[in-house]
Amino acid sequence: MFWNLLAMEVANQNPVLLHGTTAAYFISILLFILGIKMMSSPATARKGIHWAGLGMLLAIITAFVHIYFLGQSDPQLFLKLGLMVLMILIGTAIGWYSSLKVPMTDMPQMVALFNGMGGGAAAVIGYLDLLHGHGPVSLKVLAAAAVIIGATSFSGSIGAFLKLQRWISSRPITYPGQQFVNALLFLGSLVLGYLSITNPTVLNVNLFILLPLLLGILMTLPIGGADMPVVISLFNALTGLAVAFDGFALQNYTLIISGTIVGASGTLLTILMARAMNRSLFNILFGAFGKVQKGGEEEEKVMKEMSIDDAASILAFADKVIIVPGFGMAAAQAQHKVKELMEELEKRGVEVKFAIHPVAGRMPGHMNVLLAEADIPYDRLYDLEDINPEFETADVALIIGANDVVNPSAEWDPNSPIYGMPILQAYKAKNVFVIKRGRGRGFAGIDNPLFYLDKTYMLFGDAQKVVSDLVQALKKL
């Protein structure tokens, strides 16, 4: 508990200040709840974030005014207020610039990064509370929990950022005894947390914050890129919880309520996201999903390759082509080339449609945004239910960097980890062309029988290069 803060509040019982700040925080919380509620429906979503933003602005201004009056007897008050303004200005500049500049494909890792920052701030509050060393044990335990959760979320989110940004391999990284090491780190955190509560020396508390920092990054190593949004959502919920615990230590209801709401809604959202992918949370966290599975009946199966020129001529003489874009297309920034391909085909009277899986790119709603950026008209984009009956009449299903969303195992193989997930039925098309970076498996690491069908032909290479080669070949025909 922040004893001196409480003392300042007791010393400053100005009723106008007390009721004014409490009422302002009350309105902030109301705006947050309304904002989240509105954000869960497409029609009102944008207004939701604006209302929530207004609530945040109100809360920050209120905190400033409150702190100004509380700290009247503090000789360093103006230094501290100055530091706050400076840090908020620098944070605003960096946060604003980086999030405006980043391409839409990289949005998930930006969410991870900023979530990590919040987790870090939550850990800092718990850390300072422990250093103060006053207050009832129950509140100390909550502060220690905030340190563990906040620091784990901080480094874990940065790990997720690094993996999604591919600064480290987005494949699961595993080693023997991994879960054991992580469990040991967690237990170590608990022991040091206990020491930090009973004997809060600078050394103990510093050692204490290090372990969960290490744990967070090690926890994300075995998680594959495909599962990352779910994990980011989990860290998001955890940060919310850490903020709520800080709220207990600070005796601040705004933090308790906002943090708890994020913790609860974030947990539900994590479960919903995992369910949309037909995965359990446990499996995601500990299953090293996306690690290439070994064993099983490994028949000799062959992927057939096709030359660019052959593919181009079949496309040129098709009546109807359905393009299935996936994360591979987004990652290769190939959407503008895909648009050229669409135009080139349409010049020859080919009907071109795009099939958008709800979790294409593993970020719901993401693919529509990316294609819109490349000026592909919205009336060419079709949702799963609308396009699936059309595959049967398509001459070619052209799959660009998608894998798991067209994997027929989801319909054919009850033993498959993705069995039951709705897929785009590209396998029903007369021909299937697959543009793929290599022979490896998809993000989910599951073998895709679609690639071995008689009518399937592979075009290996970077999506942007293959598509632009196709455009060139079409132009020459």
Binding site: G35, I36, P42, R46, A63, S99, T260, L269, V359
Partner: protein
């Protein structure tokens, strides 16, 4: 009622509120909503500001200042990222109507 119990009551009610308000979210909004709630826990900035006020040693001052910086990044980055994502949805609605 002792204050710690008041806090626990609020904790429980807020947890149910959190579950209820997003229980009907469509898949397409999962990511923007995740980002939106990420923005909301940026309220930690306010906590960090109070904590900075209580700092009495240079170490506490430095760490508290860092906390405010991290919180500010969470707030601003969370807001802009969410708003950019949701702007795309609005654009989509308009284009569909045309």
């Amino acid at each position: 009622m002792p204050e710690v119990w008041v806090a626990l009551y609020i904790f429980m009610l807020a947890a149910f509120t959190g579950f209820e308000i997003i229980s009907r979210v469509p898949v397409i909004l999962h990511t923007p909503l995740m980002s939106g709630t990420n923005f909301i826990h940026g309220i930690v900035l306010v906590g960090a500001m109070y904590v900075l006020l209580t700092a009495s040693t240079p170490l506490e001052l430095a760490v508290g200042t860092f906390g405010v910086f991290l919180g500010a990044l969470n707030v601003v980055g969370g807001y802009v990222v969410t708003d950019r994502m949701l702007a795309m949805f609005e654009e989509k609605k308009k284009r569909r109507k045309e």
